[in-house]
Structures are given as C-alpha cells and as structure tokens.
Assembly symmetry: C2
Homo-oligomer: 307 residues x 2
C-alpha cells in the first residue's frame, strides 16, 4: 500500500506537505538560467537544463524536510520531449533521495489508453517480452470525467505495483464549482466523484485504513473538505490551494482525521519561488526554500498533530 | 480559424475521417519491430523507433486519403521521453505531408498550468525572449471537469495562434454516463459541458460558422449526438467510437449539419491495424490501411454528403 509508505514518511518527518516542482523559466534563479543557456543556447535544451539544475537543487535542499515532491507535468511538456526527459530524471532523482513522488498529470482516458498511461507513469512497459520502466512515479493524479472506466486501469496498475493515485474530486480553482457543485439528484457532482473514488479503491485498505485511490480536495473550500473527510473515511486527500491560492493552515486542518493522518498539503510557488522574496540574486534559493518549507510545516502543525 | 482549415481539407478529400495513431508494440508489423530492436535493442529507444517507422509508413500511405491524423499521447508517454520525441516528430511529419494534426492529450488544469500545456502543445514557449515551438499540434483535446478556468487558457492560445481544440462533452465509453448523464437541475452534465464549450468559444466564428472550441461526442450514443448537433450549432464535433467500439456510419451521420459540415469521425484500430486482418505478415500494412481508410470513407459518405 503506497499510501502507507507516504504516511510513514509524513510521520517520520512530522510534515504533511508536498513541494510542487512546477518551474517556469522566470522562476528559476538567473545564475542557473545563465549557466544553462551558456552551455546549450537559448533553446528548449537550454531551458530544460535550467529546470533540471533548479529541481536538483530544490530536491537536495528539501529532502530532509518534506516527505514528497509533486512535479506538474505541464511545465515539462511545455519544453517538449526535452522537458519530459527532465521530468523522468527529476522523478528518479527525488526517489533516490528518499522522497515520494506524485506525478501531477491529471490524465483521463479509457480502456487500453488509460492502461498505456498507467504503464508509462506507474507501471512497466513490455518491449518484446522485456519489462521496462518509463516515468515510474509513486503516484499520479487522474481526471475521472469519463467515468469509472477511466480510473480502473490505473487502479489495476496500482494494485500490481503497490502504487496509488488521486482522483480530482473538488478542485481548488475559482471555476471548480461550475461542474463539480452541480446538484445531481441527491448529491453534488463532486460527491458523486468522491463516492465513486472510494468505491473503486475499496476492498484493500492499508495499515492506516486508506485505499490506493485518493482524492484531490482543494484547500480553498474548507466546508467541502470537512464534509468530504466525514464522507470518505478511507480516502487519502491531496490538498492543493494552500498559500498563493488563498487556503490557510486553519482551512486545511479539516482534511486530516483525528490521528492527523490521511492528507498531504501541496505548496508550489511559496516554496519553489521563496528566493524571489529574499531580496537576493537567487543564489540563496536553496536556503530560501528550506526556510519556506519549514515555515509551512510549522504553520500546519499548529493545527494538526500527527500521531 | 483552424476549423476552417480542417473543414477545407475534409471537403477537398471528401472525407470526414481522422486516422488515430495509437500504436502498441504488438500492433506494429513484425518486420518493423525486428528492424528497430536489431538497431536499438529491446529498449524504450527500440520500441520508440518501431513506433516512428510505423507512423511514418501510415502517414505516407494515408496522406492523400484522410484530412487529419490523431496521435494519442498515452501510447507515446508509455515509452517515456523517447516516446514523446517520436510524438513530436510524428506531428511535424504529418503536418509536412499536409495533414491536420489533433493531439489527443485530454489535458485539464487551471491558470498558469493550463497555459503551460497550451504553450507546449499549441503555441510557443519563450526562452530568454526567444519564441520556440515544442509539440506544435493544430488542435488538442481538453478535459473541462475543473471548469471554465481549465478551458480558457487553451482558447487564448488558440485565438493567438489560429488553432482549435475539442472539449470532452459526451464520450464514447460504456461508463461515460456515470457522470456525464447525471441530471443537474434542468440539464444533464454533458449538456452543461457542451453549453459551456459553445459559450467559451463564442464570439468569433469562422467561414463555416464554427468557433475554435469543438466538442468530443461519442459515436456510440447517436441520440445524444443528434440532440447536441441541434443544441450546439457553432461547435465542431470530434466523434470517436466508430468501428471497434460499435458506432456505425448510420449513427455518426447525426454529428454533421445539413451541409455535411461540422464533424470528423475518428478510427484508430480499424485503419492502423488493418494489416492484422489480411492474413499477411504485415509487410502489406500500408496497402491494408489505405483500403480500410477508403472503405470507411465510402461507408460514411453513404450517409453524409459534404457540400
């Protein structure tokens, strides 16, 4: 049970936060960009190299503080295959440093296509009888708009490979209610998605009582978090929206159960871009990120006690 | 208006079909696989090379018959960054052969993340002031579960770059109704998504009357197609589910308007894997695909007259 592993790491570090690795070029310290462009030119290769150096530095700086990192695929795909190569390297490097890696890919497709995604991101690909790994993350995010046939193939891989996933249930963005908060018979759409997630993941619960199918629940909607925590007792939550998007430690406390288990809170810009607020030239980015990550940990731990 | 370009190509070839390029290893003719493994080993590189050779052969064989191809990202991602490199090469090669390329990526995220996806897949990335292209497709598929903030950034890029997209509205899979057919107040969820798509795309219609925001509507639900065609007069439809999934030419006719415009029907396995049904050894795969594509065109044109 991969959420067992994540919860163990959270307990060991007494820190239920995951650091997003979503770098745009302008968020990378100038000295790293300059070195990369000097070596590879103002090319996608140069841009990807800058991302790689930044990620490596962030992972080195954060590995003893946070239990997990969450690279957001969009920021790698925007650099084409060279970005994807850095995504692969980033996942592998973070895992070597003992971090749990959530690949934020929000994929959603059906049948053999969903299976192909899950092979590439969580499982193995068989080439002429030989099993090979591609991105090989510990966990992914999944979009279930297409229904249970878009979630099941990922869960099959999770069960085979001892991995896990998060289905988008109630997202943190301002427009999330347009669909997710529609009333459908006696439930809201996000409740339908949440119930479906817990149902599909059901049957095998880990040491902490969670199935391998988690849910994304935004920090910006605390009353929905509270209600979903009650409703989905066996579902681990990934909570985006803390910090820059407006969610507070007081808001996210409701994502945790009484043992302080069952949730991890994401922060991307506030940790990754901490160097932009020190007044320095960016060469202090590692120390700035450490300080921001520690401050976030302390902030959440004022409201959440992890037993 | 990019759907103008697609509709022009459809008219010129009198063929409203798009060929999916979704190859799994076992669907690639043995001689291509052998050559690739001989050169690069039983590796992800070897597997990606086999996909590339197969795609190139299919594009060469189909370029004068079909107006468009649709590579499905999952089958490239499963081979890691080497697969993504082949996806880039495939898009570029198909465009050089005059084909319209729909990247079937079903991405869905918000704000700057959605912008990053749309830069990578449709637009340009700026590296130290220099605009560069990554995947550079003509069109993508998008999942709108997160609401309008997950669609708008893609539309911004579409308007800047004269490109277009398809939002998942009513998908072709058996489980699509679990969410999409829930009754939300006076509408079904897929109708809400359809209305949102037409609304967001609105304002700028091309020569054929379609906005840059199209909709995915599955061939397997003909009554929903008929109703959505009435409801969304300015929305171009991508229709999956013909052939292997059970949708027929009779079913898909309702996706088109009275001029026979406004829709393109996808076929993947039936064209791509046609060689598996000839009884041959796969060296005839190009001819087999041509025949299957021509048969599909004839089949649909029995019901649809494109003026």
């Amino acid at each position: 049970m991969s959420f067992d592993h994540l919860q163990d790491l959270i307990r060991a570090k007494n820190n239920p936060t995951v650091a997003g690795l979503d770098p745009r070029q302008e968020q990378i310290p100038p000295h790293l960009r300059k070195a990369a462009y000097d070596q590879y030119g103002r090319t996608l290769e140069g841009a990807a190299e800058a991302v790689w150096q930044f990620n490596k530095g962030l992972i080195d700086a954060l590995a003893d503080i946070v239990p997990a990192v969450k690279p957001q695929s969009a920021y790698y795909e925007r650099l084409g295959w060279r970005g994807m190569e850095v995504m692969e390297r980033t996942i592998s490097y973070a895992q070597k440093k003992g971090l749990f890696v959530i690949a934020d890919i929000k994929r959603g497709d059906i049948g053999s296509t969903a299976q192909a995604y899950s092979e590439g991101w969580l499982g193995k690909v068989t080439v002429d009888g030989k099993p090979l790994s591609a991105f090989c993350a510990d966990c992914v995010t999944v979009n279930g708009y297409m229904g249970s046939d878009s979630i099941r193939p990922f869960l099959d891989t999770c069960r085979q490979e001892d991995k896990c996933l998060f289905v988008l249930v109630k997202t943190s963005n301002p427009g999330s209610g347009e669909l997710q908060n529609l009333t459908a018979d006696d439930r809201l759409v996000y409740q339908v998605m949440g119930d479906l997630t817990q149902h599909l993941g059901g049957g095998i619960e880990g040491n902490y009582g969670f199935t391998c199918a988690g849910a994304v629940v935004g920090a910006t909607y605390p009353s929905e978090i509270k209600e979903l925590r009650q409703r989905l007792k066996h579902t681990f939550f990934l909570v985006p929206g803390y910090g820059a998007q407006g969610g507070t430690a007081e808001d996210v406390q409701y994502a945790f159960n009484r043992q302080g288990h069952g949730a991890i809170v994401n922060a991307s810009r506030s940790i990754m871009c901490a160097w932009q607020k020190t007044g320095g030239d960016g060469t202090d980015y590692q120390e700035a990120s450490r300080r921001a990550a520690l401050a976030m940990k302390d902030d959440i731990c004022r409201y959440v006690t992890i037993v």
